[in-house]
Symmetry: C2
Subunit: 207 residues, 2 copies
Amino acid sequence: MTIVLYYSPGSCSLAPHIVLNEIGEPFELRKFATAELANYSAEYLAVNPKGRVPALATDRGILTETTAMLVFIEQTFPQARLAPLADPFRFAQAQAFNSYLCATLHVAHSHRMRGARWANEAASFADMQRKVPESVAECFGLIEKRMLAGPWVMGEAYTICDPYLFTMAQWMEADGVDPARFPKVRDHRQRMSERPQVRAAIAEELN
Amino acid sequence: MTIVLYYSPGSCSLAPHIVLNEIGEPFELRKFATAELANYSAEYLAVNPKGRVPALATDRGILTETTAMLVFIEQTFPQARLAPLADPFRFAQAQAFNSYLCATLHVAHSHRMRGARWANEAASFADMQRKVPESVAECFGLIEKRMLAGPWVMGEAYTICDPYLFTMAQWMEADGVDPARFPKVRDHRQRMSERPQVRAAIAEELN
């Protein structure tokens, strides 16, 4: 299986990047910096008509959507045991965690700089930006109290949920949220940042 | 397996409701009308601390998040063959479709009446409401052109993606989007509305 990951530095593409590093099979990285408008070329839109990252090129075609991609990587390389696929309830819990990150936490965060997706006026964008510290903190509050079992998201087993949570926890300071308010999330972030595969992914994205 | 679906009429809980009807195993419905503030009781928040629908009570605990729940129902009752679980790429395509509905289309739609999640000012809510016809139509445009294979979302096989698309297509008129602009989506909606399991789900939610 030839795999190419299209990523943008600092974006949620870091999650599949870390998971691919954990798997240890060869893959190729291609940068598509979403901040640079010149990148919204016909070439990239042919890869992903949504104009977003991540996108994953595989032998069978392109995949988009982080949550789908994380499960695909795990199912393709099951030896790494990064998701409890054989247990429908546990697998659903892992998927629900990732879905919450994708559809609630990431969406709250995106109102800081992507307001034009949902409104037109500068005053609305400013209002949205003021709300981000509160709406993002509310998500981390729920994760802290109800969702993060510890030491990893699902408990003793490290899964595809961990790199995804780590990726979004990296945005806390920029979103105006004090990590000290969420000690379990902070400790998880620290634990993640010590993994060689995570350090390697971050270093690779800085190149 | 004893299954209880917590639903709110007209919400995205219609998708797992239809899938449960398609499976044909007994389950219980419990109404939690999200429009009624009195329903945000300690009792319901104990079921789902997010205060959202759907929630699914199972023998092993509560599950939330529509996309996770749809796969759980399919994995628990695989005889209905409602997702290509054994084929990682096809499964990822189905999951990516559902993720797009959950994290992009549903989010665009929610800006019509849930603006307080992401802003504080009445003027921002009005601005968001004006944008909904455009942002929701953009999603349906992508679904129409690139994602809906036909006759069903994934092609010849009816899957968990179909009730989910149908549920959101039901919101088009209220979102200010003319269904005639998207003939494949419109035909899919018609095809869905002719299924006895879909008619039954809609009738059950009106009780």
